[in-house]
Amino acid sequence: MKFLQSILRALAVFFGAAFLQWLWSTHFAPYGLAPQILLVLTVAEASRRGAPPAMALGFFWGLFLDTRGVGFFGANALALVLLAYAAGLVRHQMDSGEAAPQAVLAVIASWAYFLFLGLVSWIFTQRFSWVGWADFLVLPFYNGLLAVALALLRPRRRGA
């Protein structure tokens, strides 16, 4: 029963977040800027529940992102899996579930994400795919703000 509940929850989170990402990036993106909700959620999930579930979610969210674009199929999935793993490692070192650590993690993860996608592009096409300075400098902080909001809104565990 508990397993079924966790599956259902994971499915709800997966589809809900994918829909939110699509909605925000399609309809609420001033100047084309929208936070990377799936990235922020992957990091938040890893910080809260550990790397394995976050890696699973990140993998499928990444595939979802890969199907949305014409880039390398699997690049986003690999990037989010690695970010989830890294966030899971950080979780062992510090309490990364609070707002400030989440914001810092989101900002760093965003930069790492951009660089990783460029690196994958360079490996497969010998050309570094650069997202542009505007996105590179603004989006991470946008993601950081979203991470803070998510951390503040998430329900607290009793006794925590």
């Binding site: 993998f59 999935a77 899996v81």
Partner: protein
């Protein structure tokens, strides 16, 4: 903690292998199938979301359109009702116009002036007895003025004025039991008396023996009539009553030329030129 780290490592290896395979073999059948499968699962959700979002975007406009349409609907309904009323009115006016045109072609007997009046009130229970017309003392109507009605044969006898009021008059119909008019038959120079029976028929009475009225003959007012001018159609003989050996007179049933129960306008005959109307007293 150690266990979680171990699982994480296994998962990392697994996902990395899968992702590298996906990255390395983007055109292979399994990868293409996986991609197609993911698209098949997720695209309808995105498509549905897009459509829902479109509908939500159009919602205020649709609501505004709905309210506007409702307002327009009310206005159009009112206009439709008004146009229906106008159309009905137009039909009535057209009918009235035709009727008045036919009335214009009718001539009053020489020496008499017609005063046209509308039938104002008719008691359904006494439709063969009397009705009220909208001309009275103010228009110069007097008691015993003959009242004629339009018929295919011209103006025909309807009745006479028995009561005059300032603005209206009461007309006693020829079909009333108290009505009578001296009459003669078209084929004979014999006179009789047409009497009302209280229904749609009249009785031509007191014909001299041997008059032999024929069915379908027209009955006219006699010049000797005290109220009506002569030679005004009264009706046609509908049936001849068998001779009564005990009576010295003959009689016949007469169908009135004018159905007084269905009249809308009548002509009140005023002797000579129309009498000057009595103006209302100055206030």
């Amino acid at each position: 903690m150690q266990r979680e780290a171990k699982i994480s490592n296994y998962f990392l290896v697994f996902y990395c292998v899968v992702c590298l395979l996906l990255l390395s073999l983007p055109l292979s059948a399994p990868v293409a199938s996986l991609k197609a499968g993911i698209v098949y699962v997720l695209d309808p959700a995105v498509f549905t979301g897009e459509k829902a979002q479109e509908r939500l975007e159009q919602l205020p406009e649709r609501i505004r359109g709905l309210i506007t349409a409702d307002e327009e609907n009310k206005v159009l309904r009112a206009q439709a009702q008004e146009s229906l009323w106008l159309e009905d009115n137009l039909k009535q006016l057209s009918v009235e116009n035709q009727r008045l045109r036919s009335l214009l072609g009718l001539r009053a007997p020489r020496g008499w002036s017609p005063l046209w009046a509308r039938v104002m009130e008719r008691d359904p229970l006494n439709r063969y007895h009397s009705f009220l017309v909208d001309a009275g003392q103010n228009e110069g109507v007097a008691v015993d003025d003959p009242v004629l009605g339009p018929s295919p044969a011209g103006l025909a006898v309807v009745g006479r004025v028995v009561e005059v009021r300032p603005l209206s008059s009461v007309v006693l119909l020829l079909t009333d039991e108290l009505s009578a008019v001296a009459a003669d038959i078209s084929s004979e120079t014999v006179e009789g008396l047409v009497q009302g029976q209280g229904d749609a028929r009249l009785l031509l009475n007191y014909l001299p023996p041997g008059a032999k009225p024929q069915k379908g003959e027209t009955v006219y007012t006699a010049p000797a009539s005290a109220v009506f001018p002569g030679n005004i159609p009264v009706g046609t003989v509908a049936a001849v009553r068998p001779e009564d050996p005990f009576l010295a007179v003959e009689s016949a049933e007469v169908r009135p030329e004018v159905d007084a129960a269905a009249l809308a306008d009548v002509a009140i005959l005023i002797k000579g030129a129309a009498r000057p109307a009595i103006s209302e007293p100055a206030k």
